[in-house]
C-alpha cells in the first residue's frame, strides 16, 4: 500500500514538472545577451561615431575590434547556400548533360560567373568522357 502511495506521489510530482509546449518557446535572454556582449559594445561605439565603418575603426581604433572574431562578410540570411539553381539542377549537371545549351541556361538564368564556371566544367568533363569513350570504341573496333 505504501509503495502504491509513493508511486502515485512520484507520478504526480513528475507530471507537475513536465515541460509544457509553452516552455518550448522560452529563450534564455541572459545567455543571448552574454553571447552578443561584444556586438552590443561595438554597436554602442558605432552609434557614438556616426558613419563609422569597420575599416575606419580598424584604422582609427584598432584595439576595439582586435580581439573580436568578426565576420565582415555581410550575410542577411542570403548565403551562397540559398543560391537558386535553374530548375533546382546544379550548374555542373546542366553543363554535363546539356553541354553548350546547359551552359547557356545557367549563364542567362543565374547571371553568375561562379555558377557559369561550374556549368563549363560540366561541359568540359562531358566532352572529355565522350572523347575517351570514342577513342576506346575506335581502338576496340580496329583490334
Amino acid at each position: 500500500m505504501k509503495q502504491l502511495f509513493l508511486f502515485i506521489c512520484l507520478s504526480l510530482l513528475s507530471f507537475g514538472t513536465m515541460a509544457s509546449n509553452a516552455d518550448l518557446f522560452a529563450i534564455d535572454k541572459e545567455e543571448v545577451s552574454a553571447q552578443l556582449a561584444e556586438m552590443n559594445e561595438l554597436e554602442q561605439y558605432v552609434m557614438q561615431h556616426e558613419g563609422a565603418t569597420i575599416s575606419e575603426i580598424r584604422a582609427n581604433d584598432p584595439m576595439l575590434v582586435a580581439d573580436m572574431n568578426l565576420n565582415e562578410n555581410i550575410q542577411l540570411g542570403l548565403s551562397a547556400n540559398s543560391y537558386m539553381e535553374p530548375l533546382g539542377i546544379p550548374a555542373f549537371v546542366w553543363g554535363f548533360c546539356f553541354n553548350v545549351g546547359g551552359l547557356a541556361v545557367v549563364y542567362f538564368v543565374t547571371e553568375d560567373d561562379e555558377e557559369t564556371k561550374k556549368a563549363l566544367y560540366g561541359c568540359v568533363t562531358s566532352a572529355l568522357l565522350w572523347g575517351v569513350t570514342w577513342v576506346i570504341t575506335i581502338v576496340a573496333g580496329a583490334s
Binding site: F25, L42, N71, Y83
Partner: protein, 217 residues
C-alpha cells in the same frame, strides 16, 4: 455583393525602419549589421541601405540580389530565391505576421491548437510529401500577436526558436521591434541572432527613389 478585400481593412504598402542585426554563429564568428531597410509591396523591392560594417546597398527584386557600393556602382548581382512575398516585411504589411504566413502555405496545415500559460499555440504540420524533410512549426500568440516560433526538424528535434517580445503600434499596425533567434545545430552548438527595428514608418510618401531603387538592365 462581393466587395474587394481592401475595403474591409487598411491596405499598407510601404515600410521603412532603422535596423540592427547582431549575430554569433556556431564557430564563434560574430557580426554586426546596421542600416535602414525599405520595402515597397507595389514595386516588390526590398532595400537594405547598410551603414555598417561597410556602406553598401542591397536590393532584392524578383529573383535577383543587387549589391551597390557607396557610389551606386554595382558590386555584385546574383540570383536568390524569390521570397519577397513571404518576407517578414511583406507579412507585416499584410497583417499576416501573427501566423507567420503559414496560412498561405499549401504545404502546411493546422494539426493542433492549445492554450497554455496565456499563449495560444498552433501547431502547423507539413504535408505528406514534405514530412520526410521538414517538421512541425509551432506558432505562439498572446493577445493575437505573434510572440514565438519554434521550428522542428523531421525527427521532431527543435532546430530554431524565435521570440517576438517587443511591439510598437505604428499607423495602426503592430510592429515587432525586437526579434531574438536561437538555432540549435545537430552537434549541440547554437547560433544567436538579435534583430532590432527603430523609427518604423508605414506608408511613407517620401524617399520614392529609395523604395523604387533604380536597377541596371
Amino acid at each position: 455583393m462581393v466587395l474587394p478585400k481592401s475595403l474591409f481593412g487598411q491596405y499598407y504598402f510601404r515600410v521603412k525602419a532603422d535596423f540592427s542585426i547582431k549575430e554569433k554563429n556556431a564557430e564563434g564568428q560574430q557580426q554586426l549589421v546596421l542600416g535602414k531597410v525599405y520595402f515597397d509591396k507595389n514595386t516588390d523591392k526590398l532595400i537594405y541601405d547598410i551603414a555598417f560594417p561597410e556602406r553598401e546597398t542591397w536590393v532584392i527584386h524578383d529573383t535577383m540580389l543587387y549589391k551597390f557600393g557607396p557610389d551606386k556602382n554595382v558590386l555584385e548581382k546574383k540570383a536568390v530565391p524569390n521570397f519577397s512575398s513571404h518576407s517578414f516585411f511583406s507579412l507585416l504589411l499584410a497583417n499576416k505576421l501573427k501566423t507567420f504566413g503559414l496560412e498561405d502555405q499549401n504545404n502546411y496545415s493546422i494539426s493542433d491548437v492549445e492554450t497554455d500559460q496565456n499563449l495560444v499555440i498552433t501547431t502547423w504540420s507539413p504535408g505528406a510529401q514534405l514530412k520526410k524533410v521538414f517538421g512541425d512549426v509551432l506558432v505562439a500568440q498572446r493577445n493575437k500577436q505573434l510572440t514565438g516560433l519554434v521550428i522542428k526538424n523531421a525527427e521532431g528535434r527543435v532546430v530554431s526558436k524565435q521570440n517576438f517580445d517587443v511591439y510598437e503600434i505604428v499607423s495602426g499596425l503592430h510592429c515587432p521591434t525586437e526579434l531574438t533567434q536561437v538555432n540549435f545545430i545537430s552537434d549541440g552548438t547554437k547560433t544567436y541572432k538579435v534583430t532590432n527595428f527603430e523609427n518604423i514608418v508605414i506608408d511613407d510618401l517620401e524617399e520614392d527613389a529609395m523604395y523604387d531603387y533604380l536597377l541596371p538592365r
